[in-house]
Each structure stands twice: as C-alpha cells, then as structure tokens.
C-alpha cells in the first residue's frame, strides 16, 4: 500500500495539521510516512498545502509527482491541485466554500460540505477533521482508531476540542457511507 495525498487550503484552515494527524496515525500503525508542508509568504489569506505519503515500504522521495488523493479546502487549492491528481485518483473538496465544479472526468469526486458539518458539531475550525474523516472512510490508509487516538498528541492542550474533533471525524466518515 502506498498513498500519496496532497492537502491544501487557506492558511488557517488547518490543512497542515490535518496532514500531520494522518502521518502520526500511520506511524502508530508502524507504517512509513512523510509529511512535507509548504506555505506562501503570507501569514493569512495565502494558501498552504502539505504532501503526505503513507506506505508499507521505504519512502525515498517525500515529494509527490502525481497524487493518489487531493483534499482541497478552498477554490484556489482546487484549481492548483486538481491537475496534480493521477488518473483515477480521488478528489475530496470542501463544497461549503468551493462554488465551481472540478473539471476532470477521469478522477473520483467527493464533495464534503466541511464548513457546514464542522459548524454543526460546534466549531468551524474542525472542518479539517471532517475531511480527514471522509478520507479515511474512503481510502482506509489508516484506521479511525489510530487517527482518533493521535488527536491529543497532535493537538496538545486542546483537550476541549477533542470531542468536537472526534465528532467531526465521525461526521466526515458518515459522508462516505
């Protein structure tokens, strides 16, 4: 198994941390993993993205050429990373914010109203967890248990949000079912 995932969105949407969570879960399962973030120069309003690779065997390059999965949290990210998907790859996108439709027909689409779901569980900030939930439900690169048990480590001190985040993951998973 090898999954190469690009997560992208506004700075502040938590895509980098979502990627760390996936990598952490993978490590817990004794899988190999790499996580590589990339920021714009801007603190806010710019875009941020990260590349996460989860694999059963040694990962030489942490750089993703063609991605297995793209998770786009806003419109600029969709525009930028849709072309980077490999044929038949999975595109998860945040339909709460993204108005336009993805263009390619050779990929699998999964629209997740992440902001709305997140607000429904108590915090707009957990939109990133919603898409993580959708992703692991769809691809099963890591188990929900590994992800959930990694949350306290990846988001230390944010125990208050723990339940919200777990609920967000569950709701995200539910989108797929």
């Amino acid at each position: 198994m090898k999954q190469e995932i690009i997560l992208a969105g506004f700075g502040g949407q938590g895509v980098i941390k979502a990627g760390v969570l996936l990598a952490y879960a993978a490590m817990k399962e004794n899988k190999r993993c790499t996580h590589f973030p990339s920021y714009g120069a801007e603190m806010r309003g710019g875009t941020a993205n990260c590349s996460v690779i989860i694999s059963d065997s040694l990962i030489s390059s942490p750089v993703i050429g063609e991605a297995d999965t793209v998770i786009a949290m806003n419109e600029p990210s969709l525009i930028k990373f849709e072309p980077r998907l490999k044929k038949g790859g999975l595109l998860i996108y945040n339909s709460s914010i993204i108005a336009s439709k993805p263009k390619r027909s050779d990929i699998e689409l999964l629209a997740v109203p992440a902001n709305e779901i997140a607000e429904s569980v108590g915090s707009a900030k957990s939109a990133n967890m919603v898409v993580v939930g959708a992703y692991i439900a769809k691809i099963k690169a890591v188990s929900p248990e590994s992800v959930k048990s990694s949350i306290p480590i990846v988001f230390p001190g944010k125990e208050a949000f723990l339940t919200i985040n777990i609920n967000a993951i569950d709701k995200g998973m539910a989108v797929v079912k």
Binding site: A41, E42, M43, R44, G45, G46
Partner: protein, 248 residues
C-alpha cells in the same frame, strides 16, 4: 465642500496580503494619501524591508527597492545621496529596524540623512511566525518566548524614539499608534509632516507607529487594538520626541 475617503492614487490596485486587522495596511493607506496630498508620487522611492511588508513594492504606486533585512536606511542613504531630489522613505518593522538594523538606524539618524523612516512597532516578528522582537513586551509570549519574555534573560524592550532623541542628527521624531480612529488621524498628521520636512530638505525624521499584529499575538484584531492601548502605550508613550522645526 466635498470630502472623499477612498483608495489614494499613491497605492496601486493590488489587494494587500496582510492578515485581518493588521496595522501595516492602515499605515500603507496613510502613506498613500500623503503621497497624493504632497503630489510627490512620481519622485518617491519606497524602500521595502524584509518583514511582513516585504511586498510593499506591489502596493505602492511608485518606484521601489526591496532590500536586505535591516539595511533599508543604508540603501536609502545611497539613493538619496545620488539623487537628492527624490523623496525616499524607508518602511521597517521592529525586527528589521531595531534588531538587525540597529547600526544602520542610528547612523543614518546621526548623519541626519534627508529621508523619512516609517517604523512599524508591532512588538513581534510577524513574517517569520511570531518570534521575539526587540520591542516585545515583558511577559509577552512569542514563539521564542514560550514562557513570556523574561527581561532578565531576554532583555528589556528598546524605546527607539527616546534613543534617537539623544542624537543631534534627527529633526523630527514622533511616536503614534493606529489602534483607534483618533490615533490613526494623529499618525496621518505625523507622517505627512515627516514627508513635508523631507520635501523641504529639512532632514531626517522617523515616525514610530504602534501597530496591532493580531496573528503574531494570537488574539483577535479588536483585542490587539486594546493590547496596544493597555500594554504598549504605557511602555511606549505616544508623542513628539524631537522637533527642530516650525512646520505645521
């Protein structure tokens, strides 16, 4: 009488990439208006520092030079000496101006170079992710003061205007803030005066602007403005620190 409050010509149409509530944007607008009002756009050179305002060359509608971290006053000196008819302003953050650029700050001031320094004191390194600045408040948490700035280990904040006021070079030094409307208006007055002095070849001036950095401080924009009032202004009193002129 018609009053119009709208984007000045001194600024380009480019949308500014600052965070919500960032003080930089407000000061940019003020400078843009000043450029318009003094009619100096075509001969103005903006010096972009390294810091969140590094992209200001995209925002100002005039020629500009983007320079190394802290060296804006040296570059401004080079420009102004070669071409004294130009209007040159260096725009610098607290890390740029009061840490790595300390020597350039003090020596351009004591030389009394005829340019204008706009100094954005936001008590933090915004661009690099919120590390301690030389002006970070005692007790303030930053990414390199995880337990809050301890003056015993990390030193005391520097008061730039007070320090420069001991020099014979500067003609005009004032500290203002942009945390509320009344202070914004005073900042406008100060910045315009500083540029005016340069036009009149009167010499060096520096305006220190206390500015909110909600992102770096990890609080909301409104809370950040309050922080300026409650914490910064008591340590950095607003006012004129030097004025050798009669310009109104």
């Amino acid at each position: 009488m018609k009053r119009e409050y709208k984007r000045p010509e001194g600024l380009s149409k480019t949308i500014m990439r600052y965070c919500p509530g960032c003080g930089h944007s407000i000061v940019h607008r003020i400078i843009g208006e000043t450029i318009d009002e003094l009619g100096i756009r075509e001969k103005t050179i903006a010096i972009a520092p390294v810091g969140c305002s590094v992209f200001l060359y995209e925002y100002f509608n005039c020629d500009s030079v983007q320079v190394a971290h802290g060296r804006a006053p040296a570059v401004a000196t080079g420009i102004k000496r070669v071409n004294p008819e130009l209007i040159v302003f260096s725009y610098q953050g607290d890390g740029d101006l009061a840490a790595i650029g300390t020597a350039e700050l003090i020596h351009s001031a004591t030389r009394g170079e005829n340019f204008t320094v706009i100094f954005i004191n936001n008590a933090i390194y915004g661009m690099t992710g919120g590390q301690q600045a030389p002006t970070t408040m005692p007790g303030q948490k930053t990414t390199t003061n995880p337990f809050g700035r301890d003056p015993k280990l990390a030193g005391y904040p520097i008061r730039v205007c007070e320090m420069l006021a001991t020099l014979d070079g500067p003609v005009y030094l004032e500290r203002t803030a942009v945390n509320k409307a009344v202070n914004v208006l005073k900042t406008k007055k100060a910045i315009k005066k500083a540029f005016q002095l340069q036009v009149e070849k009167k010499g060096y001036s520096l305006i220190e602007v206390l500015a909110p950095c909600p992102t770096g401080w990890g609080i909301s924009p409104l809370k950040a403005c309050e922080y300026v009032d409650k914490v910064m202004i008591p340590y950095y009193p607003l006012g004129v620190y030097k004025d050798l002129t009669q310009v109104k």
